[in-house]
């Protein structure tokens, strides 16, 4: 409502942590933090491990009663055929593990 969703704060926060470590990192995220982690992937992230998140925003639309906090959703995220970046482009060149995904 004030112009910046909490998700758009989480993503730069996470990017800052990745950069502050000073080198290539293996990124691990669980639960709701898998969403900003997906959006914060950069060349400094050499492998990614996600547990307990969601496979896509579309999966939340396909369920009758999804349970996921508003703070991690983005207005219009599914408009124009877009979704969370879980496709091969972001996986390319990285070790990629998705464990216990909800959905």
């Amino acid at each position: 409502m004030l112009g910046r969703p909490l998700l758009s704060q989480r993503v730069p926060d996470l990017r800052a942590v990745i950069r502050a470590t000073g080198g290539p990192v293996r990124l691990a995220a669980r639960g709701v933090m898998t969403v900003p982690a997906l959006l914060a992937l950069s060349s400094e992230v050499k492998s990614a491990y996600f547990a307990g998140g969601i496979p896509s925003y579309r999966a939340l639309l396909d369920q009758e009663e999804p349970s996921f906090p508003l703070a991690y959703l983005a207005f219009g995220a599914l408009a124009g055929g877009r979704d969370l970046p879980t496709d091969s482009r972001v996986r390319h060149g990285r070790e990629w593990t998705a464990a216990a995904i909800l959905g």
Binding site: M1, G3, R30, A71
Partner: protein, 513 residues
Amino acid sequence: MLPDYLRKLAAEAYQRRLTMLARTPLKQRQAWARTTFWNLAGGPPPERTPLNVRTTGSFARKGYRVEKLVYESRPGFHIPANLYLPEGSGPFPGVLFQAGHSLNGKAASFYQYCCQGLAQLGFVVLAFDPMGQGERTYYPRSDGGGNLTRLDSADTEHTLPGKQLLLTGDTSTRLQTWDALRSLDVLAAHPLVDPKRLASTGNSGGGTLTMFLVAVDDRLACASVACGNTENLACANYNPPGSTDDAEQNFLSGGPAGFDRWDTIWPHAHKPLQFGLSAKDSQGTYSPRYLENGREEYAWLARVYAAAGKAAHLEWNELPLPHGLGYDTRMHIYRWFRLHLQGVAAPLADEPPVMIEHDSALYANPTGNTVRDLGSLTPRQLAIARLQEKPVIPAALPEPPLVARRVKLAETASHRVRIEAWEIESEAGVFLPAWRSSRATARPRKPLCSWTRAAATRSGMKIRWRSIALGGSSAPWLRRTCAALAICAASFPGIIRTTRGRTRKKKRTRGRV
């Protein structure tokens, strides 16, 4: 820190809006408010499609009659309603009654009282079930507990599909305002109604939807808002998270646009408009700033009415009574509509006799559920259909530059693991506490400060961090891991609330910005 950050954003939005209020002529502001409402709600309203109004039953009571209607605000999206008709041949003024967040919608006792009272005073009243309530419950119980929701409240009936709509660039605000607008179409077209004397009223969520309807529909000659959300999010002395509320009551990106809830009222100036408030609503229903902000905004509006010589068209009634459409609030509504729609200034001695009808007596459908009885579409299905459209997504604020500066505050060693406490500045003024753990090479120089303990949360990962700091059972796990890797774990604003260099006590934030 997160609350401080929100205060800063709110202060900027508040100032932006005040500047616009002071500089923009009324006509221009009214046009802007109407357009901006739809833009923020997800885009232009849908096309008007055939309402397919059907009367499914009726019954008579002394002084009035009730017809049960079903119509479609969009093709296949059904609205059940009760039409209260006074005795006589009309034409009568018409009142659209908008229910608050009662589980049984239009059948809630106080809402029935108000509709019955108005009908006996010579008004045609249309009361409809809002999305997620009454006969439009989309998550009905399946355990024989009746038609009402299996979710925890009517609010969740709005908010759950509201999140799904949001993903597609649509909102509950747009959906529910459109339902109200089409309901006004039904009322205005009735042969006993004078289309020049239309009004809307409602309590709580229905009061807020009345505000939204006056924003977009200039057919309304008069309105009364009872216990509505007459509080801006970005207000003076903003107290985070502020007046965040049901899915339909929040304008995403309203702050950058300089648009807030009170802007919905401006298109109605200088027509008769009444506000009824519970002085208790600043202690729970809305935020602690509810009355303070309402009075400030009302004063702006009152100046505009007074300048046009229409001061008597605006009224503000604060009652020290609980939230709801009680007797006194109903009497104010009757008086207001009699004065401005019937030209009757004589005081009303008492409310006409009212009685509670059983919910099922008011059903417009055989079993009281539009999905089960009519195969109605649901808001989730509308959200999926929305993906075929091209919504207008309001621009968010630009992302501030990334700082990514770290400072090591302290370090310690435990179980042959070295732990460093970091503070990472992600953007100017935003600091995250983080812990870096790696294989120990030396004895600790000084103990880790006590906020490691304060930072423990229910998260499994952080409990491990707490455990290592306290010599707990996870120490062997961490020691083995750190033999090969350095691990960095951070706490993010909202999970833990911090100021620079120290950590305050943990506090949950709602994360609805």
